[in-house]
Symmetry: C2
Subunit: 134 residues, 2 copies
């Protein structure tokens, strides 16, 4: 079912400082910060030859990464995103296998403008998994 690794998301407190670490210290190609108010994060894309890293900084009072940063004040890997061909079929197959999909179970439009779902970390080795229809 899962295809390419679309991205690894790293939650950070200070996206300017984190961007500078990737740009200067690690010598990577780093985009300008982009506020995504409807997702409650400011995002930066780090382009690697085979995939990308996303840095996420909380935006607004209801940011979905605020609690993660309370528990992990230095920041850390927040989720991993795998691509699927058909997110509805993937959701049905997962639910039939007993895995929990977060929220209503209906795909939402994610930060890349494509349908996404998040899976319950307790069912996936403590890892928050995002599925994105490629």
């Amino acid at each position: 079912m899962i295809g390419r690794l679309n991205h690894v998301a790293i939650a950070v407190r200070d996206i300017a400082a984190a961007s500078e670490v990737y740009r200067s210290t690690l010598g990577a190609q780093v985009s300008a910060p982009e506020p995504l108010e409807e997702h409650g994060v400011t995002v930066v894309f780090i382009t690697l030859p085979n995939t990308k890293i996303e840095l996420l900084e909380p935006l607004g009072a209801e940011s979905p990464i605020a609690r993660f940063l309370e528990k992990n004040p230095d920041g850390g890997m927040h989720h991993i995103c795998y691509e699927v061909d058909d997110i509805g079929a993937a959701r049905d197959q997962l639910v039939n296998s007993g895995a929990r999909v977060l929220g209503s179970g209906e795909p939402k439009i994610g930060a890349h403008g494509k349908p996404v779902l998040f899976l319950h970390p307790k069912d996936f080795n403590g890892t928050l998994i995002e599925l994105e229809q490629a």
Copy 2:
């Protein structure tokens, strides 16, 4: 400096159960478990079209992932590995920029038989980074 994302490593308590989640629930291609006594882990490789995921289960009393699993009993993302062309040059550049390399600072032979280094999570947004000479 950094190139491809070589792998994301996920620490798990039960590598057979975790392998089954990736094989059956997520429909991925999963290798047989391989004990790496000198690294203190049993490893499984999950092959994705553009990179790989490694599942790590502690092996032996001195496993480097034992403490992580005490803190994260469900398991979780443990480190991310980026490829570099020349690990000695990468190390020198990192040290000159003030970043901390774990251990002696000398590259060791990693789980893939190639020279690796680990970088201090406090200097990299709370993320444990492995560099592997590609």
